[in-house]
Subunit: 291 residues, 2 copies
């Protein structure tokens, strides 16, 4: 035994060129800090969120991104389009229009859409799902004109009532295919889809049509925390087989950025630079070998 | 305003003849008490659990059931058959054999199977699912001989890692159809399947083949409790559209008992007679009109 590491252990591998840090993983960092930490870690891409962009204003955000030299893999997020016709629905559609413009301005190819849950007091799941499709129909023209892909993110079924009525990849594809892959795609997020018995078939279907707009990775572990929104973990810290899922996504022809997006209070409470380092390490060990 | 109710309000409707009280809803009642409370409420069927049966011994349980005049709609539960070959798997298979015998002795048509989660340390979800099918293959002969239907219960995907690797009705049917409806069926439990975009199609498929062995009802509401196992509510207290789901199950031709099965700490902490009354009332208001 020795208390000094051999020299080789100190050599750090550069992050995989397709790794993108989703900004939500370092939720409390402002935009400038998130860009700096990402670039400093040698990561070449970042997934942005609208709130920290809005904090500095879109023009400043565009300049900060340009100065950083980073790619923007996606903007999170639009959606929340399940309410019936009326002023609230019009406001939601308008907000998505602004999100499309922000996505284009930031040079991101993809706007991530989270459908939204059942409207308050409603039990009409099918109606809510139909309204998601209808809203995408309203937005598709503007997205196409802006060169932005609207990426429907199916969320885990435990969020079906209060957050996203789109629960499976197959269901997201049923909508996307009505519009075409040039304007509507899907997000494959391991946390949300790992359990799906139809996963292999639906990833293949998505890939064959060119519908995979984003691949996001984080891990699932139990017991779930009290707030199930914050149940995500670094790749490798849970039960998801990243080799198997990544092989499916690779075989489906997806060649874009792979975002690590983690909502986890303990991780948010850790210094952001440490989180970025840990993100790179977990991705290098768990996901990168399968890309 | 008056402080006396009109006479009509005091008239109570008899419980629907297809209502069955699943014993887990009054978890802390022993078998004799559960049978008595169920019969006293005018409910004609009960779903039993193995643990309270074992407490009094099978022979005594059989006599208590006969004396109660109640039907036994199902026995919960077998399953937990995801571990790889070895002594633990043999023990699990043997335990399921005992459960089949208990089901037959109690005169129940159906043994409910919960698949089990990923074995400790495993990420091989597909392998675990294959082992569920294989175990059912080992048990099918004895179930057929005993006149017991093995009813695979798909559990909500939030339990896929630690409790049940069978997550959708379609997946359960993929297994059941390998054996035939005379020996393997599926459980349609609203709490587990309400979110499924394929629900209508899969209930119809199950009904067409005669595979619906049990219909269980309880409601989904958020936020989820810290222990997500205990997230179930009385029908009507959440977001599930019991009219729509019950109509699907009716249209699929299911004519058997309908169990109310609720895991909820606050309900368990309520006097059992009150829980039975509330179960009858919620079923009468929410489910019975659609049967």
């Amino acid at each position: 035994m020795t208390d000094t590491l051999p020299a080789a252990a100190a050599v750090t591998t550069a992050p995989h060129p397709r790794l993108s840090l989703n900004q939500a993983t370092i939720k409390y960092a402002d935009l400038a800090t998130a860009l700096r930490l990402t670039a400093d870690a040698g990561v070449s891409s970042i997934g942005l969120w609208r709130e920290p962009v809005a904090e500095v204003g879109l023009e400043t955000a565009v300049r900060l991104v340009a100065d950083s030299g980073l790619r923007v893999s996606s903007l999170c997020r639009g959606g929340f389009i399940t309410v019936p016709e009326g002023p609230a629905r019009r406001a939601a559609i308008d907000d998505n229009r602004r999100a499309i413009n922000e996505t284009a301005a930031l040079g991101a190819p993809t706007l991530v859409l989270v459908a939204g849950g059942l409207p308050a007091g409603s039990r009409d799941l099918i109606g809510a799902r139909d309204r998601v499709r209808d809203a995408i129909g309203e937005l598709a023209g503007e997205a196409r004109a802006a060169g932005v892909t609207l990426a429907i993110e199916p969320l885990h079924p435990m969020y079906a009532s209060d957050r996203a009525v789109i629960s499976t990849l197959g269901q997201a594809l049923d909508i996307a295919e009505q519009f075409g892959a040039d304007v509507v795609g899907v997000v494959v997020d391991t946390f949300h889809v790992w359990w799906d018995p139809a996963l292999a078939a639906q990833v293949a279907r998505a890939g064959a049509g060119g519908y995979i707009a984003s691949y996001q990775v984080c891990d699932w572990a139990t017991p779930l925390p009290t707030d199930v929104l914050l149940a995500r973990h670094y790749p490798g810290d849970g039960v998801i087989d990243f080799a198997a899922v990544s092989a499916l996504v690779q075989a489906a022809g997806y060649t874009g950025d792979v975002e690590v997006e983690i909502f986890n209070q303990a991780i948010w409470d850790t210094p952001a630079a440490d989180v970025v380092a840990r993100t790179v390490a977990s991705f290098t060990a768990t996901v990168a070998p399968h890309l």
